[in-house]
Structures are given as C-alpha cells and as structure tokens.
C-alpha cells in the first residue's frame, strides 16, 4: 500500500523559503503570483492489511519523526489501488 504525507508550515510560522520562491517568480514574469508556501511531500510504501491500520502507523511516524508539530502540520493520503 502506498501513502503520501504532506507536511506544511503552520500558519504564522515564518517560511523564508516560500518567500524567496515567491520573490523569484515575481521577478521572472509571474507578478500575479502573490503567495508561495513551501512544504514537503513524502511517499511511503507500507505493509498493512487495511487502510485504517496503515493510516494509524503513518500518523505515529509523522508525530515521531516526519513532522515537527511546533512548526508543521501534516496530512496523510492513502493512495487507492497502489
């Protein structure tokens, strides 16, 4: 089974990388882009008989390592049919 974990900075946390990308896009001809936030996308393969169990394990992994809850939120998506 495959899953995706999307990790994004929490609202209000300074995101200097997103800001730098936004400035760069504005400078190379995309003035209409006015908000960029950079996060991470992690693809995981997991052995599990069902989605609920897989999600629970990935939730634990996200809290323990993948995301830092002081500054980041995470969202788990189980990929159907993979």
């Amino acid at each position: 089974m495959k899953a995706l974990v999307k990790i994004m900075p929490k609202k209000g946390v300074l995101d200097p990388q997103g800001k730098a990308i936004e400035k760069s896009l504005n400078q190379i001809g995309f003035p209409q882009i006015n908000k960029v936030i950079q996060g991470k996308l992690i693809e995981i393969e997991i052995e599990s008989s069902n989605e609920v169990n897989a999600k629970k394990i990935i939730e634990d992994a996200s809290k323990k390592l993948l995301a830092n809850l002081v500054i980041e939120d995470y969202e788990i998506t189980i990929l159907k049919g993979e």
Partner: protein, 229 residues
C-alpha cells in the same frame, strides 16, 4: 568529574569541544557514538555542532531518534547537565528537552562570523562566571538558527529568565538590526526550567584559545565545570 561528548554521523565540532573541555577540566571527555544504548556515568553530556545525518528532513530530527538519546533523556531527568551547541541545540529541541525549534535563517544565507551576545542570565549553572548583561564575542556558523516558538512559550521563557544569551551589537543593543537570523526576541541560547540543560546556536568552543582569536567562551566552560564540582 565525568564528561561525555556524543558523536553522531556528521558531527564536526566534537573534537573542538573535547579540546575545550580538556583545557578547563584537565581530563579527556569520553566520546560516545550515537549507536550506543548505554552511557558511561556522566555529570555533563555535550551534544556538539555539525550536520548530523546531513541535516536531512529537519536539522537534528534523525539524531533525536538515535539509540543513545533515550539514555540522555533519562540522565537529563535525573539531573545531569546537558549542553547542546548549534546542531546539538537543534537536537535538544527535536527531543523536546528544550522548548521551541530552530528554523531556516530569515535571509536564507548560511551565517559564519563572530557576533556579539548579551549574557541575559548570569546566574545560571552555565553562565555564572559572566557579569550581568556582559557583552561577549562568540562565533556562529549556521543555516537554521532562527529560534521559533509560539508566543506562550516565548512569554514563559522571558518571564522565568530562561534566556541565556541574546544577539546584540557591540554596544549591547538588542533589536531587529542586531538579529542575524530572525530568532524570536533575538534569542541565541536558552536554559530549561530545572536549570540543567542549555542549548545555544553560537560556538563557545571556538572562543577559548588566544591563537584562534576570541576567548570569551572561557567563562562558559569555567561556569559549568564549577557547577559540577
């Protein structure tokens, strides 16, 4: 007096800190590989600077889950002194031994230079040899040194006088202009409530030898070594 320096894959200030510790304690610290599951008896444990695990995922996040860390947490709870410098500070926040976290520098560039710090708390186990509000020169070398925590945590560490050092200029002015990396309230180093754990981004071990330039880190080492005795 027993001192352990923890070595992670990618640590690169472990030998520098060992040299400084030996200079002031007259004893070689034990170098402990991160895969060890037991720690020699230690009055002081130091997590050195560097780029543990290549700074992958988040600085310090992998090291925080190393086998040795559960021993360090146990020792911290039973009152051993713990110092985390630079990457070591990042590891201490990732293990929740210290509050908050270190994010990317505000201006996105790696900062490597000597900076002025103000000693905000000169009564702690780690800083009592400094005078109150002393201005010292200590080098920094980091990409993710921007201290962040929510307002409640910041208020708490301010109220309880848990800020060891703040970034300033040579006149001791603390403001946005003298904040090199965007840290909340110019925070360069903090202490936990119990007073036995300190984390800081600047490198006092790089300021203990006249031939290398700065010597303001000496009082830092003398402070903690006296606290142990």
């Amino acid at each position: 007096m027993e001192i352990s320096v923890i070595v992670f894959p990618g640590s690169n200030c472990d030998r520098d800190i060992a040299v400084s510790l030996k200079k002031f304690s007259k004893k070689n610290p034990k170098m402990v590989w991160h895969k060890e599951s037991s720690l020699p008896k230690s009055d002081l444990i130091v997590l050195p600077g560097g780029f543990s695990y290549g700074d992958y995922l988040r600085c310090g996040s992998m090291a925080a889950n190393s086998p040795i860390m559960s021993e360090i947490i146990k020792n911290a709870e039973s009152g051993a002194y713990i110092i985390g410098i630079c990457n070591g500070f990042q590891i201490l926040t990732e293990t929740n031994l210290l509050p908050g976290t270190l994010i990317r520098n505000k201006e996105l560039s790696f900062i490597c230079k000597n900076l002025s710090l103000k000693v905000e708390n000169s009564e702690s186990n780690f800083t009592h040899k400094y005078s109150d509000k002393e201005i010292i020169q200590i080098p920094v070398a980091h990409n993710e040194g921007n201290y962040f925590a929510d307002q409640k945590i910041i208020d708490n560490i301010e109220d309880k006088n848990l800020i060891a050092f703040r970034y300033c200029n040579q006149n001791g002015e603390v403001n946005d202009k003298t904040n090199p990396n965007g840290s909340k309230n110019n925070i360069a180093g903090i202490i936990n409530e119990k007073g036995n754990i300190l984390g800081m981004m600047p490198h006092p071990e790089r300021a203990t030898d006249k031939t290398a330039g700065l010597t303001d880190g000496e009082k830092f080492f003398i402070s903690i070594l006296e606290s142990i005795q």
